[in-house]
Symmetry: C2
Subunit: 583 residues, 2 copies
Amino acid sequence: MPEEQLRQLMYGYGYEPHFVTVSDPSATEAAHRDFAAVLDTCIDDIHALQDAARTSPAGADAGATRWPMIVLRSPKGWTGPAVVDGNPVEGTWRSHQVPLSEIHTNEGHLRQLEDWMRSYDPGSLFTEAGELRPEIASLAPRGDLRMSATPYANGGRLLRDLVLPAYADHAVEVSHPGAEKVSPMITVGGYLRDVIERNPHNFRLFGPDETASNRLSAVYEVTDKVWQPRIEDVDEHLARSGRVMEVLSEHLCQGWLEGYLLTGRHGVFNCYEAFVHIVDSMFNQFAKWLKVHRTLSWRMPIASFNYMLSSHVWQQDHNGFSHQDPGFIDHVMNKKADIIRVYLPPDANTMLAVTEHCMQTRDTVNVIVTGKQPTPTWLGPEEAHLHVRRGIGIFGFAGSEEPGVEPDVVLGCAGDVPTLEAVAAAGLLKAAIPGLKIRVVNVVDLMRLQDSSEHPHGLSARDFDTLFTTSKPVVFAYHGYPWLIHRLTYRRTNHENLHVRGYKEEGTTTTPFDMAMLNQIDRFQLAMDVIDRVPVLGATQALFRQDLQDQRQRAWQYTRDAGKDLEAITGWTLDESSPDDAK
Amino acid sequence: MPEEQLRQLMYGYGYEPHFVTVSDPSATEAAHRDFAAVLDTCIDDIHALQDAARTSPAGADAGATRWPMIVLRSPKGWTGPAVVDGNPVEGTWRSHQVPLSEIHTNEGHLRQLEDWMRSYDPGSLFTEAGELRPEIASLAPRGDLRMSATPYANGGRLLRDLVLPAYADHAVEVSHPGAEKVSPMITVGGYLRDVIERNPHNFRLFGPDETASNRLSAVYEVTDKVWQPRIEDVDEHLARSGRVMEVLSEHLCQGWLEGYLLTGRHGVFNCYEAFVHIVDSMFNQFAKWLKVHRTLSWRMPIASFNYMLSSHVWQQDHNGFSHQDPGFIDHVMNKKADIIRVYLPPDANTMLAVTEHCMQTRDTVNVIVTGKQPTPTWLGPEEAHLHVRRGIGIFGFAGSEEPGVEPDVVLGCAGDVPTLEAVAAAGLLKAAIPGLKIRVVNVVDLMRLQDSSEHPHGLSARDFDTLFTTSKPVVFAYHGYPWLIHRLTYRRTNHENLHVRGYKEEGTTTTPFDMAMLNQIDRFQLAMDVIDRVPVLGATQALFRQDLQDQRQRAWQYTRDAGKDLEAITGWTLDESSPDDAK
């Protein structure tokens, strides 16, 4: 690119470019002098800009500040062999890989390599014995100034635990299971507000312009979004400094948080679930880095990378098929089990307890997926905390099992919408088939489904079999692609009786319950699945099954006629459908 | 962003910006006039540039051409309500979502909405009965000029079948299985060269500067890389026009090929396997589009999107852990089965037959993964063609089964390196345990593993059971993450006897055989797996198993001492290890 065009581009991005152009490859010393001079100029410029900013009136347009940028234009393969086998190499595309590829067989190549290496004057750097000369070695910094030892490159050394707000101050009191419909994301927004207030210097919230859309606006009660250009009167929550970093680039959010963690601080990246795939490849590299980092004894642990994914596949408001993709969970789970954690809190209190836990972890990637819409709060503060510590557990209030008797069927669930549908399905079954013993198992920590030999959070075979039985049908409603549950459980004793419903890439701009029906994880379908799978039911419950089909058809038709869900669905509560209360 | 800065940015990108700035929101007619005038100017400028290019000497610096760009700066929410509930809305961030959110309950909001809608003067557009006025309707284009009907937006109408070269002209003759070590990518490079020669106007090859690195350089015998800036004397294969589109941006390659297919042409995106994750999110949207496109009767089928992934996880030359990620296959398989195809050709001839097939498909996404290093060619031209048509098959030459007798063990394999290791493992076993009946099953079309009810390419239960038996151990060596094979087969009769080896995120910059050992898919490990899984072996073959362990340890140590693989590994051929030939 011509220098003038490059200058315009840098200007356009708001930088003041300084060019160092090496036009004569042999004039290395002149180039070094030029570069040193430009470095000095830039440092002076930076100091001048800083001084001006410190004395300028608050609110001045910081966006008008042009920070210096150095553009070094050196020949490709500079100082390497100029010509090889008659072809120009230095300064051309031929320097891209191995300029001398036949050193084992070609005497000329070998000699060129030797000349090249000798051009660095090794005699001035090394002794005859091949050791670095003491006067050179002494130039290297010592102690914490060494590149690998400086706390600025080994952020774990600077890491301080977060001062966390009290869980109890934010948890939702519930008189009975499902009584309070609360948004998990709004609840955690209040918690994050207090995290920011208590940790004003080492916590930041990152997101692609979705903090409000993901219902975390409470943070703006105590901080602002960082904004450098001009701030208009009409703008809200924008300031020169703040703890919220928003930019409509998932790539930038990912990179910012990675860097922030590496300097020993803490953070959360909140994102629409479907669009976090944009950083799949960046996540891969970070996960690979984290795996290796954990093996290096001198590297200190850093705070975990927390993804908080909402606006998820099942609740889309005015968005549609393009916004529906729960596959980031599948993507992260290909990486080393040691570093990957996935949580699907089914309600506000479990979301809070999961978040509190993740804020204290180190050297892992935590993926938390939950909804932003009001959802029944199934568990009270203490129960939710215990449930999250276990990672998996029986929702006794939702089932109908009796102590000492193995249940007839297990209804598994993971995710907020699937849990609601599973609890509602259990209610339908309990009301219609009083003798049926149903167990509802909720999974918050998805890795509990794996064997303890495969994942640090995995359940032992004994624990798994106790929860899911060794021979009874398991109907499982899952937030994401259903085959992931099979992948996690294929070695389990009872796997052949496991039937999973989940998102199977059917969607459009429609109501939440229609989304459930399109993908067959709705309460009616789950109840029908139970009838189909439990041997003692089947033909004996054909009339009830037909009734479920008809209820489903009515709900289906209503969405198409009215453009919304039936009041019987949206207004459903555990109380009304519970046979105990209905009597 | 200030206009001057934006102008510099556009200049930097090589455009000539024309600004239309609406400073007075109420002056809509003036804005329309301004915009129309700028449009006229730009069309004139484009014609002038085209005329100049046509008359300029060849080789002039096309990069210096500044194409016009229109920058329309209009108020956000332009013509919407100016103020709502005392807050300014038009021209502010408040226009981003729903400016009047309470029309059902707030009389003032409803009236503002009515005023806003009436500002479009509906009486001039619609009759009293609510129909579009004939004089307005008549402005709409007819026939092929309708937006949805024009062939330029429904590219399938313009699609012509490719004129394909003869498969036989490129297939490798092999005297016996594995006799010729040939690079699958170099072989297909010659084929693609002939595709380009025969189809000079409707086929392009896209890639992020990796066409040569992925060994497809043969295409440069008949075409060049498109390059608009100055072309230097030292440059090779660059020209103003050509069929190879290279840019080091996977995003741009993905977008270019999507657009090219949509205009009714054909193409291939060749990419390093690990880095194609960069376009995960773009792939998602394209796959969703394709799913819907197939349901619209008026949309004509387009050519399939072909990913050709090489430089894969098992063969990295000088690259390492960062370049190892076979998870794109997992990612694409979450999308609708109807449109997803995944092929893992084990050698040059199968690669050729797969490519020939993919070039003729419509409305699918084909992912082809194979290596660029010389690999034994297992099948002759006709056998390879039949194998690819089947998608899965028994490598009779590699096993030791007898007609009419069920094998003792099945060695499954998918991918070039896993196939080599599986064939070598079978050779080790045949030589040491003469009576053992081994079947080697190779999978080219990964979707064959799924049930026919789940994927159009799926095998019926009967066919699957015939190949993999219903009760014998299956040791499977797979190219990617091993759990994918479980996900595809968990419903199969014999699934509980299936044991899969694959990439488990262990890697570094090392030799190919060390990579296999690090992830335990090497021939020695596979042979040990067979001993461990076949009930009649086990304790009776402890000495042979110990010998395998020792051979493995020697190979392991040699890589660390010598920095390369043992000659016994790199020089291994089927002949030498085959007991039949050795006798």
